[in-house]
């Protein structure tokens, strides 16, 4: 009975709530719709080109040109080196990214550098020290933002200018751009741990670094490893793209084959890329299962 009455009451209240509804949802829906329509026009989205004679022919040529893929031993053996190069770029790029992202991510972790319970006793009544720590924190976050807001493609372009063509600018581009991404996510992982064990370590006299390695890092390790491995997978794909601006690897081969209209070679390279990403994915799943 009581339950029923409550429900009746709720129903009785509903109309009054409805009358409070403002016109904002309608306004924003209209604005959103207008934005979509305008963007369609300005982005020059035009599905018609697929059906016009010219577009249809180009598409047909590209698709038929891809089959059958060029699986001749001659071509495959030629691709061996760029494939290895792609993996090497991704490995070193990710390693440099970790070396950049880990320390900056640490300094950019609010609860480690400035805020939270672990800094309370240390920074209470010490405005100078608090200010200095805040500056370090903001600086680390600023550098990380800068590194990751410039796409790896643009970084590669700049590094090609700086150190010349080849795989090295690719390594640098991945290292810097991914360092920014890793650092940001690391700091979020570090902030998400359970703080009670850390307080316990602090209260028995451990310093910050000791607390980090005995309490913080072990808790964050699974997420840390799986995100790093995910970034490695992304780096394999990216190092293929970076070849397009002359930064070595499979990307350079894609570009050459595209230029020469050898679409069957393009398909082969895409297949190699697919296999590589699948292998990396499999490997990282195995590593994660170990943790």
């Amino acid at each position: 009975m009581a339950l029923k009455r409550q429900r009746v009451n709720q129903q009785a209240q509903l109309p009054t709530r409805r009358s409070h509804r403002s016109f904002f949802p309608y306004l924003f829906s209209a604005l959103f719709l207008l934005t979509l329509i305008d963007s369609w026009r300005r982005a020059e989205i035009d599905p018609k080109v697929f059906f016009e004679a010219k577009g249809r022919d180009a598409l047909w040529k590209f698709l038929t040109g891809m089959f059958p893929p060029d699986l001749s031993w001659n071509f495959l053996s030629l691709m061996l080196r760029p494939t290895l190069e792609t993996i090497q770029i991704s490995l070193w790029g990710t390693l440099i990214a970790v070396m950049i992202g880990f320390p900056l991510g640490l300094l950019g972790t609010n609860t480690l550098t400035v805020g939270g319970i672990l800094n309370e006793a240390e920074l209470q009544g010490a405005p100078l020290r608090r200010g200095l720590r805040s500056v370090i924190y903001l600086l680390a976050r600023g550098i990380l933002s800068l590194f990751r807001c410039i796409p790896e493609f643009v970084w590669a372009f700049m590094f090609v200018r700086a150190v010349g063509l080849g795989p090295f600018p690719g390594v640098l581009a991945i290292g810097v751009a991914y360092g920014g991404m890793l650092g940001k996510v690391y700091s979020e992982i570090f902030e998400g741990v359970n703080y009670q064990p850390l307080e316990a370590l602090q209260s028995l006299g451990a310093n910050k670094l000791q607390i980090f390695f005995y309490g913080w890092f072990p808790q964050a390790l699974p997420n840390f490893v799986s995100y790093t491995l995910y970034r490695w997978e992304c780096a394999v794909r990216a190092s293929a793209i970076l070849g397009l601006v002359g930064a070595g690897g499979l990307g350079q081969q894609i570009e050459i084959s595209m230029r020469m209209f050898n679409f069957n070679e393009v398909l082969t390279i895409l297949m190699i890329l697919f296999l590589m990403v699948a292998a990396v994915d499999y490997l990282s799943a195995k590593v994660r299962a170990l943790l």
Partner: protein, 209 residues
């Protein structure tokens, strides 16, 4: 105040040294679940170890014998190389006590160390803490909700009500009437027992904020 120094004004190294002298046992054991037992126990050494030394211990544990001895005292020497989150709740509380043993502080504060274990284990753990306090001649302060445990094992019991000490006596001088008054009228949780075991000369209770 500890050893004549006001903890609230300390910073950095001296604050850490002062903290090392106070051992704490928590309601939830507050161990790091993914570490092996030995590292959680040896964490008691962190106040003495340099950063580098403590880091290298994570790769290859130093002071294995110290950890083994502490774990023997709490009755689980065979768990030394297991992962901490694979132990039962009572075993984890023992690991936490072993960590305090390794830390070897001057005062041990235990904040309801037995509220999450069953009664038999509760009295075992309380007795263990008292044994440690007696053999190391260190002060032990325990907060408990169980009146029976406090009266049965501790030489000095303080009844706390509304943030004030209602009485501060040896257990034989505490009457049922006093206990009734302690819990009277208020919700039971308001009353708590502070039990202290002080084999050494009285030390001012350290104030930690």
């Amino acid at each position: 105040m500890i050893n004549g120094e006001d903890i609230e004004t300390l910073h950095g190294k001296r604050l850490r040294q002062a903290r090392r002298l106070i051992g704490t046992i928590y309601q939830q054991h507050n161990l790091v679940p993914r570490l092996r037992v030995i590292h959680n126990v040896l964490a008691g050494q962190l106040g003495r170890w340099s950063t580098f030394w403590s880091l290298s211990s994570l790769a290859k544990p130093h002071d294995i014998e110290v950890a083994r001895k502490a774990l023997s005292l709490v009755g689980i020497p065979d768990k030394i190389f297991e992962r901490t989150d694979e132990l039962s709740g009572g075993q984890q509380q023992r690991v936490a006590i072993a960590r305090v043993l390794v830390q070897n502080p001057e005062v041990i504060l235990a904040d309801e160390p037995v509220s999450s274990v069953d009664p038999t284990l509760a009295s075992t753990i309380v007795r263990l803490l008292i044994d440690i306090s007696e053999s190391t001649r260190n002060t032990l302060v325990v907060s408990l909700h169980s009146v029976d445990l406090a009266l049965a094992y501790f030489p000095r019991v303080i009844g706390v009500k509304d943030g004030r000490a209602a009485f501060d006596l040896t257990p034989d001088k505490i009457s049922d009437a006093m206990l009734e008054e302690l819990y009277d009228g208020s919700i039971r949780e308001n009353g708590a027992q502070e039990a202290a075991s002080e084999p050494t000369s009285p030390i001012a209770y350290p104030s930690i904020s």
